[in-house]
Amino acid sequence: MIDVMVAFVGSGIRRSTPLIFASLGGTYSERSGVVNIGLEGMMLVGAFVAIVAGNAFGLIGGIVIAALAGALMGLLHAVATVTFRANQIVSGVAINLLGMGLTAFIPEAVFGQSNVDSLCTNIPRIWSFTPLVFVAIAFVILSHLILFKTVFGLRLRSVGENPKSADTLGISVERMRYTGVMISGVLAALGGAYLSIENSGCFTKNMVAGRGFIALAAMIFGGWTPFGALGACLLFGFAESMQTILQTFGIDLPPQIIQLLPYILTIVVLAVAVKRIRPPEADGKPYER
């Protein structure tokens, strides 16, 4: 029984970790006023780069380079949406397609197969958890402090709520939004890197499998706050691992029933609780002086 509980908690946390990274990422971007539906594509790029770079430079090198690749994807999204004031949804769609396309066609064209195995074995573990699990939890606390207790956080939020007044106060809306979107790219890529290099030891085509969109749901469900996102990700992650546990007790709940949970909850939250949970005021709106 205790074994089962330990396995349940362990798998719940492991399933939540990539979601935590990506939904924190979404929070930074949207707090600065830029909708980021490209999380999925950014995670895929992170997952792929982590394996390729990890095979060349080891675990830490792989993760750092994956984060940089994520920043680059964020930069693309920022150039389109902040500098050119392009539609943020369309740009997000493009980011997703680029992420899916690049990570599907490069491994096939270069390595001749769509799966790439990681050479980084012997990943350090504390109670079966790999390093990025702890990094994710640390980032939640750190992000809360950054967003709500620092001048930078205040500025980031102000350009997402009321860019005009922020601008008159001398805050560069462009610079803050670039920063927010690029941080979101870094975090989403770390989520992808966790999936590939630490959790499965290989990159497989489309391995993110919609987690970018679940993270988006978690960000909304968590009310655009780091702790809220953490709670939502844990809920979604544990619900998933519940299904496996029920199976060991001989209860065969179809996995699709539990997979529905994040999506239905998010719709309910948006439909019912709109007063309490609302996006940043200027979220999705390009800023023009």
């Binding site: 539906i37 997703n96 397609l97 064209a109 270069v110 919609g210 909304i220 999506y263």
Partner: protein
């Protein structure tokens, strides 16, 4: 056809050129000749029976593109074509399997209506939430996509699964409901005519009826439309519902003219909804533009499929080209200063 002018054609054309150029650089870096690859792609899309598959892809692309374009005109983003086509296809296939005793001339209209109805319902929910609760239709349609994927996957894994075999798919539908194919070629079926008919219908709706005028007015300026006496929330709900109804047909050719059953994993994780956005954007939200953009994308897809083994350029290259196309489109459209998003 007054809505297409020379200036508005500029950004789609530039973005196509940019995508092919950047794609060409990638092909070159892989040690292949980009001109040869592109040439083989285009000829592969039409060679032999390849044109059939191009037509097949084009059919679904026109339908999802129209669905997205219609919502665009009302200032709405329908990222839900993927879910709408799944539920449309699912209900249509379910009706086809359950009532196979009925004569086809009676059953087929019911099947068409059920695809339409299921898709419409899947569009209605984000529509009403947008209109009444100001919920982002982008987020809701994304969620609705996954609800559709999970539901269809559940149905095809458990209650409606074909009995032998491991694949999550339905039984084969009755032969009397199979749509005819010209010379048996995949894609050469009547659904392309349905798609073209829908394009004409969308054109007439948007530019020749009062409802269409209202949709465009709300898309242009909801506040002013409200003052002008247009019921904005009703128009928003209608545009999303109609968009959903159109998308409900996008799986039709696969089920009734190709595989003759519904398969769970075909669209899952695929990009039908995103493709619809690409088609609507490149086509400038005009039905004629949608048809042309769908043709281009279909050529890339089926041509890519035809040459992937021969040339060693995987078919997923097409997604990459598509990504760059949209990306350069949103940027150049701002630079050129087009009115439409």
């Amino acid at each position: 056809m007054k809505e297409i002018n020379k200036k508005s054609l500029l950004s789609p054309i530039i973005s196509i050129i940019v995508a092919f150029s950047i794609g060409g650089i990638f092909i070159f870096l892989l040690g292949k000749n980009p001109f040869q690859v592109y040439a083989s792609m285009f000829s592969g899309a039409f060679a032999g029976e390849g044109w059939g598959f191009t037509l097949f892809s084009m059919t679904s692309l026109i339908i999802t593109g129209l669905s997205v374009a219609l919502a665009f005109h009302c200032g709405l983003f329908n990222i839900g074509a993927n879910g709408q086509l799944m539920v449309g296809g699912m209900l249509a296939a379910y009706i086809a399997l359950s009532f196979s005793g009925l004569p086809p001339f009676l059953l087929f209209p019911i099947i068409i209506l059920s695809a339409l109805g299921a898709g419409a319902f899947w569009g209605f929910i984000p529509g009403i939430l947008k209109a009444k609760r100001a919920s982002s239709e982008v987020v809701i349609t994304i969620m609705m996509n996954y609800i559709a994927i999970c539901t269809v996957s559940y149905l095809l894994t458990y209650p409606l699964k074909a009995s032998p075999g491991y694949i999550a798919q339905s039984e084969i539908i009755s032969r009397s409901l199979w749509l005819p194919r010209y010379n048996g070629i995949i894609g050469a079926d009547p659904t392309i005519l349905l798609a073209l008919l829908l394009a004409v219908a969308v054109y007439i709706l948007l530019w020749r009826t009062k409802t269409g005028y209202n949709i465009r007015a709300v898309g242009f300026n909801p506040k002013a439309s409200n003052y002008a006496g247009i019921n904005v929330s009703k128009t928003i709900i209608l545009a999303m519902t109609l968009g959903g109804a159109i998308a409900g047909f996008a799986y039709f050719n696969y089920i009734f003219a190709y595989q003759h059953r519904i398969v769970s994993d075909v669209i899952v994780g695929a990009t039908a909804g995103f493709d619809g956005i690409t088609v609507a954007l490149l086509g400038k939200n005009h039905p004629l533009g949608v048809i042309l953009a769908a043709l281009l994308l279909a050529v890339l897809y089926s041509g890519g499929l035809a040459v992937q083994f021969e040339l060693g350029i995987p078919n997923s290259f097409y997604l990459f080209l598509e990504g760059i196309m949209i990306f350069s489109f949103v940027i150049f459209d701002k630079v050129v200063g087009g009115k439409n998003e």
